[in-house]
């Protein structure tokens, strides 16, 4: 059998979604951001909602998300994506609106917008990438940096006494009456990728029931100063015990 006989439409088992543009991703090798971009766009494609989707890119490593996601997108000010999403969805209730935010964006400068959009029950989906560090600005301490973890602004490790504690914003958000679905996932193994995609799909499908919040605990090989493989191992050993994976708030109707 010739190779040409194999490369045929009918034999395709996986295809890159055309909801991602052809532009090469600007993320560092091994970074989880790219995988989450893909999952989100696959979900938009599978739900057939491209013409009704409006996305909001944050300030952070994913500031250029609009270069890669083939949907209408807006670049927000640092931390304000949930406010933009509120304005959009309130005036365009028939649209699917998502924000895509890092931990500095969502859990430090934008805490008020995160909490209040969640509490009001805005009908939006928030994708929250928690890598425990400020990737874009060169590896400073984030609100989610673990105790003892090193960053450029806590070079000897985070010390609770002087620098405060890491913030479990996802658990906080889950307490609020306006959230419908709150979950924490990861994308470092094929199995986790599959679960994360299911969660993102559920979060997009159900945004009109209340705010849907998907945290992805992710790596930052550059900020953590590790190889991609080391960073994934380190994440599993250190991040997951403090940020345990799994659903945190599930609507009663949901069949798990």
């Amino acid at each position: 059998m010739d190779i040409k006989d194999i490369i045929q439409e009918k034999n395709i088992v996986y295809k890159r979604t055309d909801h991602l543009t052809d532009k090469a991703l600007s993320f560092c090798p091994g970074c989880g951001h790219g995988t989450v971009h893909r999952l989100l766009m696959e979900v938009v494609e599978e739900m057939n909602i491209q013409s009704k989707t409006i996305g909001i890119a944050p300030v952070g490593c994913s500031v250029l998300a609009y270069e890669f996601m083939n949907v209408d997108m807006i670049q927000a000010a640092h931390g304000r994506a949930p406010a933009l999403a509120t304005g959009i969805k309130r005036l365009n209730p028939d649209k699917y609106v998502f924000t895509y935010q890092g931990d500095g964006d969502l859990a430090a400068i934008g805490t008020a917008e995160t909490i209040h959009a969640s509490n009001r029950g805005e009908k939006i989906t928030i994708i929250f990438i928690n890598n425990g560090i400020y990737g874009m600005t060169g590896g400073q301490m984030a609100p989610t940096t673990l105790i003892g973890m090193k960053a450029s602004t806590c070079p000897y490790g985070r010390d609770a006494e002087r620098m405060g504690n890491p913030l479990k914003i996802t658990e906080l958000v889950a307490q609020l009456p306006g959230t419908y679905f709150v979950t924490r996932q990861a994308v470092h193994t094929p199995n986790h990728v599959r679960k994360a995609k299911k969660a993102i799909r559920f979060a997009m499908e159900n945004q009109n029931n209340g705010l849907c919040f998907v945290e992805i605990v992710s790596n930052c090989p550059s900020g953590w100063k590790m190889t991609p493989n080391q960073s994934n191992t380190w994440m599993a050993e250190n991040m997951f015990p403090f940020y345990p994976l799994g659903d945190i708030k599930v609507p009663e109707k949901k069949v798990v």
Partner: protein, 359 residues
Amino acid sequence: MKEYKLMKGNEAIAEAAIRAGADGYFGYPITPQSEVLEYLMAQKPHERTGMVVLQAESEIAAINMVYGAACTGKKVMTSSSSPGISLKQEGISYMAGSELPCVILNVIRGGPGLGTIQPSQGDYFQAVKGGGHGDYKLFVLAPSSVQEMADFAKLGFELAFKYRNPVLILADGIIGQMMEKVQFFDQQPRITDEEIIKKYPWTTTGKTPNRERNIITSLYLEAIVEEQHNRKLQEKFKRMEEDLMFEKIECDDADYILIAYGSVARICQKSMELARANGIKAGLLRPITLYPFPSKQISGLAGKVKGILTVEMNAGQMVEDVKLAVMGKTPVAFHGRMGGMIPSPEEIVSALKNKLIGG
């Protein structure tokens, strides 16, 4: 004949926003402009026209809600007073950078800091020189009556969409709080989603197969591209001169010109009458748009008069622009009150005598 209503400036602009077909308002309470949000909520605009009104968690959130909604081509508005307008500046800069239309009302109170809830014009520089970071301008309208508060809501939306730029209505506590008669224009229909797609093809309304995705951003990583973007913006800011507005009262035979805007222009009109009764030929020039500024008109008058007195409720802000327009052609003096104090017509006439006429 249309009926007159007796209303506060803050209520008039809120009513006018509904009638102008506004799609949304996002705000946060602060004196002396809280009546805007209160009036809107009491009117149930969701029933009247379908307009969305939301009390945000902060001024920062409010302007960013406006930012998001404006990206979808909707007519949106926010209002606040000085400290709240300071908080909005990052969002306003983003909107100017991304070329988005909206109407922002600042009912100025005295500052700096928490200041006072009394009226002031202390935010002139912030309003006309940009306000937030970066090189940009807002189209700035300065109402001097309750009627103009109403009229400028409608005009503000028209200009915002004409230029794809935020329009700032710069009022002060007097205009916001005082009651006057006002006549309203008829209810205008809200724009439909189909009309938005046709009229404003740049909006983020969802990528359809017949067009590329729309992106709204103010980020240009390459310096040369950012410079080009800035050039384009600057050309637009210049073009705004097309819609320059000012009012000249008894300037033709005047020896002395008073220049003032907003509520102070109303007071100066009285001063002008008092001066004329005292044999001083005074005229008044009232800039209605503060950006664009009537520099050419002021320059033209400067060649004909013996002096110009600029009157403001601040330490002397617009007077700098007046001096730039006059370029030394005639003496320019300034009279100002601060901290919520309002100048009286008599003290303005005294200032004119003491600072310009002499003797």
